[in-house]
Symmetry: C2
Subunit: 226 residues, 2 copies
């Protein structure tokens, strides 16, 4: 069996940084709208830019700048825009902070074959993987643009992994759980304490949900995988 | 034998669009400096941001915004910044324009195993590959963050290609030619009519240089590869 791990918000913190940055962004634009208005406008602009930009901090930064210009009706000045660029740099430079228990769980599963499959900006994701210190624990690490059925099929095929021999572990239902189950693999849902609006999903699924990655070894034992 | 192709400026035009955009950028900032001053400042800021941003249009757009704020000493207004964001969108939305003769050459080499190995922003490169209409001609397509020896070793290994059985074809000496030769593979240099300063290289090498991709089939025949 091969165990696949998502990275952002599964192995290390991510979304909390985006949300803190969003609060800062709302404060920066407070004279032109309340937090909800600014948040809605940013989300709308991010979704409109998604097909063009994809995911990641650079996309997010450009959408924040566009939002600042839009909500201020062109009044945002260079100092404010420079502040947004600095917020983007801070998100990119943020140290990798592992979730509690991650190292212990990976230690415990060291005799299994582990993959890391993460979605987003290629450069930033590779930098995060390097900075995590976890790279050598994984047989393969893959940065993908989308986590859909076609991508999992391609990535698993590339490494000769049959879906029946694959378990994906992650915090996102639409990205980590549903496509892998659709392909005939197994999945484990480990919710993170906050979820980006774009990744929120309320559909039914019968994947097990665990509260923390620390519960994964026992679950794999139940499944006779270890 | 496996033939690898670079994409930007080897199969389709790319750098000419960046250079046209740069002329537009210089015109936009003309009141704060001459073209050379602005070009130098942009290049300096792009290189400083490179480890953080990597390659691609989003990175370039953010660096243009930062440059505009710097050279204007904070006088660049929201309309100007919005214009830069639009320039980025135009670069991302630009249709894929194949270089002359590309389709005919790929037709002629259709009985060989072809790979596409391109460097840059994951989302934009995948969109370009899709839009090119060429994807099905390649056995494998890979988007990588860097084209260095380690990356070629990883990608070739992943697909079971020995360097001795690999020829890389591309317009960049440091990205397409030198690392593949260092690995024991062969390379063919097809210069594009303009080269980004960052990819300029004056080192020695003994890879054949061809004027156009249309000369590739004859060269491969000389090498008894087809």
């Amino acid at each position: 069996m091969i165990i696949g791990f998502d990275a952002d918000d599964t192995l290390w913190h991510n979304e909390d940084g985006f949300q803190a940055s969003q609060r800062e962004f709302e404060a920066l634009l407070a004279e032109w709208g309340d937090a909800d208005t600014i948040e809605d406008r940013l989300f709308e602009i991010e979704m409109r830019n998604m097909p063009r930009y994809g995911y990641g901090v650079k996309a997010h930064t450009l959408s924040m700048i566009e939002t600042a210009i839009a909500v201020s009706d062109g009044q945002a000045n260079a100092a404010l825009i420079a502040g947004i660029i600095d917020m983007g740099h801070a998100l990119l430079d943020r140290p990798v902070e592992l979730l509690d228990g991650v190292v212990e769980v990976l230690d415990e599963l060291a005799n299994l074959t582990l993959m890391l499959i993460t979605k987003g900006d290629l450069y930033h994701q590779l930098a995060r993987i390097d900075a995590s210190g976890l790279k050598e624990r994984f047989w393969q690490t893959e940065v993908v643009a989308h986590k859909d059925v076609a991508t999992y099929r391609r990535v698993l095929g590339l490494h000769g992994v049959e879906p029946e021999r694959f378990v994906m572990v992650g915090n996102s239902l639409p990205s980590d759980v549903l496509p892998v189950m659709a392909l005939g693999g197994r999945a484990v849902h480990v919710p993170y304490h906050v979820t980006w609006s774009h990744e929120q999903h309320t559909g039914d699924h019968d994947a097990p949900v665990i509260e923390s990655l620390s519960d994964l070894p026992a679950l794999l034992t139940d499944w006779s995988i270890r």
